[in-house]
């Protein structure tokens, strides 16, 4: 597997994500700076990390979504290359239009930083194949703008098409229908606010996030 981690000015989970990918797949991902206009040849997984790209100016993820490398990411996504966006990465993916909806300020206005309960809603995707449908896991969140909103028609479509990958099992940020992670229509793009890369080895206190990367490795390899 040749993964690429996209790095923006203000990304701060890029190294954690790279370590998780390397640990699970045995191969270090390419770190790709936002000013690049092409992905390394043979990239078969694109990972967009958490952080505060461009200082969250204008809207979280807004500036990053218009950076040169994102054109290549959108093009690769259209060809079916898996794209995983975590936290700020999820915000970037909604801003590019690869995923529907928007991530707004948390309803409680507080930055939320804790491990939250998640229910795996769809275990049929390349990202969730190693989980059981309905399984409950715990994954940390750390965000100020994680309040997922879309119009009712979009939400109904996401639910009807099995595109809700993860749902919070507790009140976290006011997200519509407690949605924590969504898939695109083709199923090769996942955006999620919780950080699976922070729970992949025993030293983290949990390995609930590890199977996401194992599933991807299996799907891509």
């Amino acid at each position: 597997m040749q993964a690429a981690v996209i790095v923006f000015p203000g990304s701060n989970c890029d190294r954690d994500l790279a370590v998780a990918i390397r640990d699970v797949t045995g191969k270090a991902p390419a770190m790709v700076w936002h000013r690049e206009s092409e992905l390394p040849a043979g990239t078969d997984l694109i990972a967009i990390p958490g952080g505060f790209s461009y200082g969250d100016y204008l809207r979280s993820g807004a500036m990053a979504a218009r950076s040169p490398i994102m054109k290549a990411v959108v093009e690769a996504a259209g060809k079916g290359v898996p794209v995983l966006g975590i936290c700020n990465g999820f915000q970037v993916l909604t801003e590019t239009g690869l995923l529907p909806g928007a991530l707004m300020r948390n309803a409680g206005l507080h930055f939320v930083c804790r491990t939250v309960g998640l229910k795996v809603e769809n275990s049929q995707s390349i990202f969730t194949a190693r989980y059981q449908s309905g399984e409950q896991i715990g994954i940390p969140v750390a965000h100020h703008d994680g309040n997922f909103q879309a119009d009712a028609e979009t939400l109904d479509r996401l639910e009807g098409d099995g595109r809700v990958a993860f749902r919070y099992t507790e009140q976290v940020n006011g997200s519509a229908r407690d949605i924590a992670g969504v898939l695109n229509a083709q199923g090769n793009v996942l955006g999620m606010m919780p950080h699976p890369e922070r729970v992949i080895e025993n030293a983290h206190g949990s390995t609930d996030g590890r199977r996401l990367f194992e599933g991807l490795l299996e799907a891509v390899a």
Partner: protein, 77 residues
């Protein structure tokens, strides 16, 4: 040539910041505030001859997220 772009949340979109401002106003003793919605004002200093459609494109492509926001353009005379 200057233009001002007002970016506001669409009706029905929850505005937690507006709510917080509302509470703070009430805390200061200002009664009679029915609702508060917060938005953004972006001032553009533009080359002469920039068309309305150019500015609209700027709004749609970057300045506003039309999933949740409306925009209004006001040109200075």
């Amino acid at each position: 040539m200057k233009a001002r772009v007002f970016v506001t949340l669409k009706n029905g979109v929850l505005d937690p910041q507006g709510k917080a401002i509302h509470h703070a106003l009430e805390g200061l003793g200002f009664g009679g505030v029915n609702d508060v919605r917060a938005g953004k004002l972006i001032e553009l200093d533009l080359a002469d001859g920039t068309s309305d459609s150019d500015i609209e494109e700027m709004c749609r492509k970057l300045l506003a997220n039309t999933v949740i926001e409306n925009f209004k353009i006001e040109r200075a005379a």
